[in-house]
């Protein structure tokens, strides 16, 4: 499975997650967001970029509780709460935002 943008192909698994993290780029993120019916705003990009940094540092996609706490620490308490994150990503911040960020499905995401 996969998709193609401007001649570049992106491989995805059966749940729509990118197979190869290194293939990710902004265009892929926009496509994945559209698939998830998420309209990307600056706030969405902030979370997506945060996740990419987190993955780069720790080599895992964080569980939602961990993501919430880590965002609060870095971006402030008004953003580090479930309400804010679920408003941005209604079907689950860890799941949807991770997919858009090109990360694997979070470990501990049940």
């Amino acid at each position: 499975m996969g998709f193609e943008i401007n001649g570049k192909t992106y491989e995805t698994d059966e749940e729509g997650y990118l197979v190869n993290l290194a293939e990710w780029d902004e265009e892929a993120a926009k496509y994945l967001a559209k698939e998830e019916k998420v309209e990307m705003t600056e706030s969405h990009w902030e979370v997506v970029n945060f996740l990419r940094e987190y993955y780069n540092d720790y080599q895992i996609a964080p569980a939602v509780r961990v993501l919430t706490k880590a965002i609060g620490k870095k971006l402030g308490p008004e953003k580090g709460n479930s309400k804010y994150l679920y408003e941005l990503f209604p079907y689950g911040p860890a799941k949807q935002a991770c997919k858009i960020a090109g990360l694997p499905k979070p470990t501990g995401c049940i």
Binding site: D57, Y58, Q59, P62, A63, V66, K69, T107, G108
Partner: protein, 135 residues
């Protein structure tokens, strides 16, 4: 504890069933899947708010050694993930002193903060656990 009337009260339910879980890691990080599997179970266990300890013994101490290079064996270097454990509120990491010494390692060679325990103290700590999972 008062008897539950069947309503869902997460706090009460979880506080009533906290057990002491120890994950014992004895094997080198690569070559077998034990280290990675253990780490994944540990991360999942964090969702259940249990009292989790990790113990590193024998070649298991290599799992948290700094400077792991895995290019040559074509494996993903998952050692940075141990540094994420703190964010999962898993902060009880114990390393056996003898195992470090036998391998010429010290606490300074490790990539996370740990408590170094003697073999005897480690045994005593195991004795306190409700559940022990050995990898």
């Amino acid at each position: 504890m008062t008897e539950s009337t069947g309503g869902i009260d997460m706090d009460e339910d979880s506080s009533g069933t906290v057990k002491k879980f120890a994950f014992i890691n004895r094997k080198a990080p690569y070559g077998t899947v034990y280290a990675l599997e253990s780490l994944e179970v540990v991360l999942i266990s964090a969702a259940f708010d249990q009292d989790v300890s990790l113990m590193f013994i024998d070649d298991g101490v290599y799992q948290i050694k700094k400077g792991q290079g895995t290019k040559g064996i074509g494996m993903k270097n998952f050692s940075p993930t141990y540094r994420a454990l703190e964010g999962y509120d898993i902060e009880k990491l114990y390393v056996e002193k003898e195992s470090l010494e036998e391998r010429g390692l010290t606490e300074a060679d490790l990539l996370v903060d740990v408590e170094v325990l003697s073999r005897a103290d480690m045994a005593a700590l195991m004795e306190e656990q409700d559940v022990i999972l050995s990898f």
